[in-house]
Amino acid sequence: MERNKIISELNEIFEDIIDEGPVSLSDVTTVRDVDGWDSLTNIQVVIAIEKHFHIRFLSEEIVTWKNVGDMIDCIIDRKEVK
């Protein structure tokens, strides 16, 4: 799955859940770069991503994510495995 397409879809997911206006994610975006992205909204972000892409993450792997790039790598891995 194309990385740019995933980022575009993630922007929409984040905007819908965080409700803080337009979001422009990149591989290096971290929690600190997005207003309203905290531990509580992160639960909804992860659930929305899982539903949107029809995948499931493991708790062990999401705690290793350092930025959006790691999240996207994980999405791509999951989509390829399916």
């Binding site: 639960i43 909804q44 659930i47 899982e50 499931r56 493991l58 708790s59």
Partner: protein, 132 residues
Amino acid sequence: MDFQLNQCYKQKYCVTTEVYEHFQECSQDFNPLHTDEEFAHQKGFPEKVMYGNILNAFISHFIGECLPTKNVIIHSQSITFKNPVFMNECLVFEAVVSDLFEAVKAIEFKYKFIKPNGEIAGKGLIQIGVLK
């Protein structure tokens, strides 16, 4: 997590006078549809209509008291009211685990409240989190 996909829970809830009065006191909603028999008749109902959000209070009880663990918190819940509930009706609440999100320890339930005549009083989705 102590939950499995498609696991089903059932619980009986009755809208008694006590429940009605406590909810009215809590909500301070005295809309005539809920308090005035004559008004309810004029609007096409056989008697005054119970507060729909009493069903949300029942959901609160279900999540807080009826699950295999007390380590839970409600993330969100939705409800669509399908048919009115009247005084002293007892409803069967059925909730099925419709989705599990292991990575963030969250569970979704699809639920419905069934009236004595088999009609659906309300239905929706509940998402809860399991606390560490």
